[in-house]
Amino acid sequence: MAGTTLWKGYVHFGDTDVPVRLRASVREERTQFHLLHKRDGARLRQQMVCAYEKKPVPGKEQTKGFELEEGKYLLIDPEEIEQTAPESSRMIEVHEFVKTGQVDSLLLDRLYYLEPDLADIRGPEFNALVKALEELHVAGICTWTMRKRSYLGALQVRGKTLRLSTLRYADELILPTSLNLQKVPLSDKELKIGMELLEKLTAPFAPEKFQNEHQEKLREMIAKKARGEKILILPPRRLEPTESDQLLQALEASLRKAA
């Protein structure tokens, strides 16, 4: 089943407007758990509790605060927060075009399909945009508002499909340099054998062969338990780390195994 339209609007730049519809590209289903009270099996309800009185607090006695320092809050009227929400608009405004290779994959967040809005399309502008983005190998960097939130995004073509990825803001990305990784000297031999091993273990990317087996097994376990059968407890597998002075040997043995 194809997804439904999430949003409708126009891709805009210069004197070009392209009517589009936004559709989800992914749909995930997962086993949903509820929290129960162990003793009586009752399904638990979430409740906001006053940390001081230790009593449930009804909605009308709740307010919002910004913590300035420990235990000190600046009170904010929820309505004032609401007022900072962006104004709604129907426009995906393209600010600039960049080479597709310049869009850092770590910034890519959610991906949507952009389909032509057939109810509103007037001419060949949709196809012209797709063709142009494809031939020039560029992405359009754009902003838009959807469901009271503003988004930064990249408009790209893959295959013949127009896609819109939301982008994370640059300052949300933690840089690898902040991880303080230390360089460990590696011998040429270790690198050479390592690369050979990777080549040996390389296969074409075939995403369709990976299934969510865990989900299946989880459902089986639930069914088993529902029938009153006993569940066997298995400890997680833990591997013994390869010692640094054993690394070369482990690589050589791996290579022999892969050959």
């Binding site: 309800r45 605060g65 300035l68 004032e80 803001y169 690369m195 780390p241």
Partner: protein, 261 residues
């Protein structure tokens, strides 16, 4: 800044095993507010309430349940849940490597970093370096918070990035419309191309800021001049104390619930 670990375990490829920790790669830049009790300005905590006993339930009395029929649940313990895929809950086993360019970004879900645990530094560095030189990614499956993820390990500036991937079965098909096969008149094509070329720049993501956050910070700056902050009563318990993982799990399920609507 100390990096918080989300998970710890071992990466393996063939006969090499590397002890690692999983850490965040993304820090959402949200301005966050705290819910307060309007009567005494005490912060509010999220607690679980048993409707039968009308009492707050401590963490050790909470168990996960799967609804098999309306109001009928099968309880599962943490040990049972961990037994579902014991081989994957503490091990990221790279079963194959692929050429990085082959991965369509439509599969990307969420990125993390892996950092080496004590003793794993050398093998970690080797894997990062050989993946960089060969421009390859390692594919693996592992279980994080009861979900089995297909993941791609890649190398970046000496660090290993772990990106969770969407399963192929969860990718929705593209829509085929007759319009997409339509021809484009040459003059329209060159007009759009020209318009794009005039707007070509080098990408500098840093220049785009979150407007909402800017506005919220401005609002707070204004408020702090106008009003004195309120002081919460001392409760004797650490602030925000409570079942942290439980709250995260709840928020996650609430979010899912909203999205599915």
């Amino acid at each position: 800044m100390p990096v918080q670990g989300i998970w710890s375990g071992t990466i393996s490829f063939s006969l090499v095993a590397i002890p690692v920790r999983l850490v965040k790669a993304i820090e959402p830049g949200r301005v966050s507010f705290r819910l307060l009790h309007s009567k005494d300005y005490s912060p509010l905590s999220r607690r679980m309430l048993c409707p039968k006993e009308e009492s707050m339930v401590p963490e050790d009395e909470i168990v996960r349940g799967f609804e098999i029929a309306p109001d009928q649940y099968i309880q599962l313990t943490d040990e049972e849940l961990e037994s579902v895929s014991p081989e994957r809950s503490r091990t990221i086993e790279i079963t194959e490597f692929i050429d990085r360019e082959e991965v369509d970004p439509i599969y990307y879900d969420h990125p993390y970093y892996l950092v080496p645990s004590k003793g794993g530094e050398k093998a970690y560095h080797l894997l990062a370096e050989v993946m960089r030189r060969t421009n390859k990614a390692g594919l693996a499956k592992f279980v994080l918070a009861e979900r089995e993820h297909l993941v791609a390990l890649t190398s970046r500036d000496g660090a290993l990035v772990l990106t969770t991937l969407h399963y192929h079965q969860d990718i929705l098909p593209e829509e085929e419309t007759p319009l997409k096969k339509g021809k484009v008149p040459p003059e329209e094509r060159s007009r759009i191309k020209k318009s794009i070329e005039q707007r070509m720049k080098d990408f500098d993501p840093g220049k785009y800021a979150n407007d909402r956050r800017k506005k919220l910070v401005e609002l707070l700056a204004k408020k702090v001049k106008e009003n004195a902050p309120v002081t919460a009563p001392v409760t004797g318990e650490a602030e925000g104390e409570g079942p942290a993982d439980l709250v995260a799990a709840l928020e996650e399920s609430m979010r899912k619930l909203k999205e599915n609507r």
